[in-house]
Symmetry: C2
Subunit: 197 residues, 2 copies
């Protein structure tokens, strides 16, 4: 491709990133080489640091730089309430919204008979342990509104029934959403959950 | 965003790559953290190497890992013929096609009155020097078929007229192209340059 092996290796590795293919990887690498002092060197350093320190929190499954993540260790977080999410990206989305002050539990996926993913693969046993050890009184099941997500939510709800208060995120019209572009399921859910003004 | 500063820094840097925004940068970083042994560590090493060694060829403007690039130094390349391209990515595209056996000259952009880019900004003086010092007999102007590209080609053609044979890439229907999807200009060019079968 290019004239040197080192640059070709970098292009090949970059092309493995989600959202990048061979063409966009070449473009990104050229951009990096042009800005090697401003961008490439800091990016390489940052990657070295993260590669050396990043790990999954042993308690909740969040990624961080210590065995127990900052959220699990924080004393400012509300005790007794857990928000269960599928993935770290969902946890990050909740944190950006800055609306939840309790702690999280990242399942690491959803139950899936097709992919042979059962409760043991999903950090579900750890969730049950935490409910007891951390004296949890409310579990918010913030799983995605997909078939697999809802199946997983039902499974967990069955396990924790009568032990904690179980809640789920409200479903309805998204803020800024136009009815014309919404699917029938969302409109039905929003209509059924309508509220007095 | 995430719970740790190191990971946030990496996300911010990744978001500066062309083709990635904040959302896709977060996705890429999560992917990297999950595959930190297989992908993140090798990628960090590869970036360190390239950051330390990558530079522009002093002769032709190609990027490589030495002051004079492999193509300029290669003795297998034909002497006396230069292919002038706008950008390193164009050079890489020509090399992938594996059709040109001479050497290159990368301008680093096109002339642009609007952006105040004149010949001095473009490695054009170096091109004139090379034509003399390397005893060039043919210069292929493989600039992009845009207004700026063609303006630059005309400017260089004026400078080198009567000193070398000047050629440009043929214009016509791309291989695999369908007439119905081609612009009028391309069809006109292809028609005017029609060949006996």
């Amino acid at each position: 491709m290019s004239s040197t092996k080192d640059i070709d290796t970098l292009i090949e590795l970059m092309a493995k990133l989600p959202g990048l293919g061979p063409r966009s990887a070449r473009r990104a690498v050229l951009h990096l080489i042009r800005k090697r002092a401003l961008l490439l060197a800091p990016l390489a350093d940052s990657m070295q640091t993260v590669a050396a320190t990043a790990r999954e929190c042993l308690n909740c499954g969040n990624v961080g730089t210590s065995d127990i993540c900052d959220i699990c260790e924080s004393e400012k977080r509300a005790n007794g309430i857990l928000c269960v999410v599928e993935d770290v990206s969902d946890l990050w989305a909740m944190e950006r919204a800055n609306v939840f002050k309790g702690r999280y539990h990242v399942l690491g996926g959803t139950l899936s008979a097709l992919d042979a993913i059962g409760p043991e693969e999903l950090r579900i046993p750890r969730l049950i342990d935490r409910v007891t050890s951390e004296h949890i009184t409310e579990v918010i099941l913030a799983l995605n509104a997909t078939i697999d997500g809802q199946t997983t939510a039902h499974y967990i709800a069955d396990l924790l029934e009568n032990r904690v208060t179980l809640t789920s995120l409200a479903q309805g019209v998204p803020i800024g959403g136009e009815l014309d572009y919404l699917d029938d399921g969302t409109i039905t859910a929003a209509m059924n959950a309508r509220k007095p003004i």
